[in-house]
Symmetry: C2
Subunit: 143 residues, 2 copies
């Protein structure tokens, strides 16, 4: 019955174990997780994959969860904690991900520009960096 349940209740949605756990797990994770990662971290009994997807879709539509698109086969998800989003660096060799708070990410000017040029109302953005992590660089994994 943390703020998770409250947020759900406030939005008029039933509070279920699956939803509480998803929010808890995502909030505890420093990195965005795939649906599979998420399910693995559930204490037993683990929910069905379909349920995890359905809940992720619901939580996303309620604005409690955000999807993250890295260049992978599957999508990842993270808790949408207010406006304080994060940016990430992904290693192109081993896939290692590091996240860091988007401090002083001033893209408001670009967003304003977009509104003028395309008429789009920008509500969110994602910024990811790709490169080579120190370990892979040492090993010479250049691709």
């Amino acid at each position: 019955m943390g703020r998770h349940s409250e947020a759900l209740r406030r939005l008029g949605r039933p509070v279920t174990r699956g939803r509480e756990e998803i929010l808890r797990i995502l909030e505890e994770s420093p990195l965005p997780l795939s649906s599979r990662d998420l399910r693995e971290r559930f204490p037993d009994p683990k929910p069905d994959a379909a349920t995890v997807y359905r809940n992720l879709a619901l939580l996303s539509s309620l604005g409690l969860v955000r999807t993250v698109a890295l260049h992978e086969r599957s999508r990842r998800y993270e808790a949408a904690e207010g406006e304080n989003h994060r940016h990430r660096v992904v290693c192109r060799s081993c896939g290692r991900i590091e996240a860091f708070p988007a401090r002083k990410c001033d893209l408001s000017r670009v967003e304003e520009d977009i509104r003028r040029r395309f008429g789009f109302t920008v509500t969110d953005h994602s910024l990811e960096f790709f490169g080579d992590c120190p370990e892979c660089r040492r090993k010479g994994n250049k691709g």
Copy 2:
């Protein structure tokens, strides 16, 4: 025998119809394309989907093509024309995509910061904006 073929030849790879077409189609497209989009734009006879994927993987590893991760089910690809990359705005309702040149995208400071803090050598980044396009806003598609 445009610069496409030359780039491939220079890299020591056989020049085949599939590869030339992929590079041509991607270069002519203002938006990043999915593997399926790409195949559909091939003049007949269309190549097998597996071949398209294999060639996209090859061209990516050679640095001639870049994958783009929007928040969709499938990946998209774009021609990697030197350093002049683009940023994009995606409508959350209808999926419409607008691309615009990344003019004056000064993220070098952030990239330097990343190098210091994590040791990652950043070679690329992607920046996408999400929001509502004018049409969807008018129609009231808020989700």
